[in-house]
């Protein structure tokens, strides 16, 4: 096992990775920006170094400086967390060249799965179903209109390099398509440096269900069941749970097997997630693969009893998985909600200083945090400030715990989405398992 690793991230995920390192007796090197000098991950690291100014480009994305610190401190590996450099093939390659283990898959696999078009082609090749669409970038708006006609409206216009909902738009007719095309292409160029656009058939009100996989460097791959992440705002997840209240055992197994086949065909190693859209008839379609640990990994940990960060570290070290598919158990029901520093109605960010912070404690409650009373939430980073994870023997028990935990959660000084989360937890549609990607628009904003 590694003796010392660098954690190239901030916030709750940096703290989360360090916690596992402490349990495994691995020393940790933290990095921080000017704005994060007093952050919990800095205090928790065995040693920590400032990498630059408050903006991510000056600090957490400063690849050369981060690698330099790893070398100087004798860190053998870098854990990138999620976001930031976690799916950056250039960074993974730079680590390789510097003789430092990147805790993730190979740069080639990251690059392939980072492109929506290339990942589609790779999945189609091994027989994993994909949403009907085109496998080459659109040449112009005329081609876009022709393709949309062929699939029938509505269609989804997407930036190849997009993510987190950026560069994605539903268009319902040709007029909308013509209006949206150039603007989206320009935005994709501005945001991602790549204006490649494509179109796929829009699956209306689908469920977003993803399969967690673990794959070692010896070619062993297992799936750790699914997570249902349909409840989203601005195309970003708000509530995640496992198991999905919608899937039956046969679909679950088919999806798991498809995910394993997908990972194996890529020569994947690391924890990874294959995201699928599932339609009303339980047909599932590949959406994308995340080649990293995900925000919502705790729900999988809760139902399987596995520590996914530990598994990532063991895999990166070259250890084979210590279990096979039949050994992976599933027990109880877990739900995670993301606490965002934002207005619960408009979803606009709400930076500021937290004047009161009380988190719920008790049986079946897990908090993943990197803020406390007196913390300043700056505008430089993602608005997620904490995650609340609950577990029960049944879904009903988990929801009950969620309601109680959210009632006890107190944050003052900044606005948070807790009122919205309470509304979701209490909503009859959520309680009955009706969790499509239209949930927030239908029930919370539309108040139906």
């Amino acid at each position: 096992m590694f003796k010392k690793i660098l954690i190239a991230n901030r916030g709750e995920i940096a703290v989360r990775v360090m916690r596992t390192c402490m349990a495994l007796n691995i020393r940790t090197v933290g990095i921080y920006s000017e704005a994060d000098a007093a952050a919990p991950h800095v205090k928790m690291a065995d040693e920590a170094y400032q990498v630059g100014g408050p903006r991510v480009n000056e600090s957490y994305l400063n690849m050369d400086k981060i690698i330099e610190i790893a070398k100087q401190t004798g860190a053998e590996a870098i854990h990138p967390g999620y976001g930031l450099l976690s799916e950056n093939a250039v960074f993974a390659r730079k680590c390789e060249e510097a003789g430092i283990v990147f805790i993730g898959p190979s740069p080639e696999v990251i690059a392939r799965m980072g492109s929506k078009i290339e990942s589609r082609i790779a999945m189609e090749k091994v027989g994993v179903p994909v949403v009907p669409g085109i496998a080459h970038p659109l040449s112009d708006v005329e081609e876009a209109a022709q393709v949309a006609d062929r699939f029938g409206y509505p269609v989804m216009l997407k930036a190849s390099a997009g993510g987190g909902g950026i560069g994605m738009q539903i268009v319902r007719n040709e007029e909308e398509l013509r209006k949206a095309y150039e603007g989206n292409k320009k935005r994709a160029t501005d945001f991602f440096g790549d204006g490649a656009m494509y179109i796929e058939k829009c699956i209306e009100n689908p469920r977003h269900v993803e399969i967690q996989v673990l794959a070692d460097k010896q070619g062993n791959t297992v799936y750790l069941w699914e997570r249902e992440c349909s409840i989203q705002r601005r195309h970003q997840k708000v509530v995640e749970e496992a198991p999905s209240p919608f899937l039956d055992e046969a679909t679950r197994t088919r999806m798991g097997e498809a995910a394993v086949k997908a990972a194996q065909s890529l020569g994947y190693s690391n924890a990874g997630t294959i995201e699928f859209l599932v339609d009303r008839d339980k047909n599932f379609y590949f959406l994308e693969m995340n080649t990293r640990l995900q925000v919502e990994h705790p729900v999988t940990e809760e139902i399987t009893g596995l520590d996914l960060v530990e598994q990532q570290l063991r895999i990166a070290c070259g250890e084979p998985l210590g279990f096979v598919q039949n050994d992976v158990k599933r027990e109880g029901h877990a739900i995670e909600v993301r606490i965002y520093a934002e207005d619960p109605k408009t979803f606009f960010p709400s930076p500021g200083t937290i004047t009161k912070f009380v988190v719920p404690e008790g049986t079946g409650i897990r908090n993943e945090l990197a803020v406390g009373e007196g913390s300043t939430v700056t505008p430089f980073y993602d608005p997620m400030i904490a995650k609340l994870v609950v577990k029960g023997d049944t879904r009903e028990e988990a929801i009950h715990r969620l309601q109680h935990a959210l009632a006890a959660y107190e944050v003052e000084g900044i606005k948070t989405n807790i009122p919205m989360l309470r509304e979701i937890a209490d909503h009859p549609a959520f309680r009955s398992g009706d969790t499509t990607t239209g949930f927030v628009a239908h029930y919370i904003q539309g108040k139906k």
């Binding site: 987190g164 520093a341 979803f347 606009f348 930076p351 700056t378 505008p379 980073y381």
Partner: protein, 70 residues
């Protein structure tokens, strides 16, 4: 004269108007970037842009004057 103020701390991502432009109430004049989200800031009154007080890339705090209208 009226002012367009920043509704939250953030980075000025795009300035959509320049001095002399006519703007209508509700029209977006600046886009801020805060917590990885773009926040359009709209003029509350109709008028002509007298002065743009910020540049793209500037960091602004809540309540800072972005644009002056007359």
């Amino acid at each position: 004269m009226s002012q367009v103020l920043a509704s939250m701390a953030g980075n000025v991502w795009k300035v959509l108007v320049k001095a002399g432009d006519a703007v209508e109430a509700g029209q977006d004049v600046v886009i801020l970037e805060s917590m990885k989200m773009e926040i359009p800031i709209a003029a509350e009154a109709t008028g002509t842009v007298k002065e743009v007080k910020i540049n793209e890339g500037d960091f602004v705090n809540e309540g800072d004057v972005l644009v002056e209208l007359e």
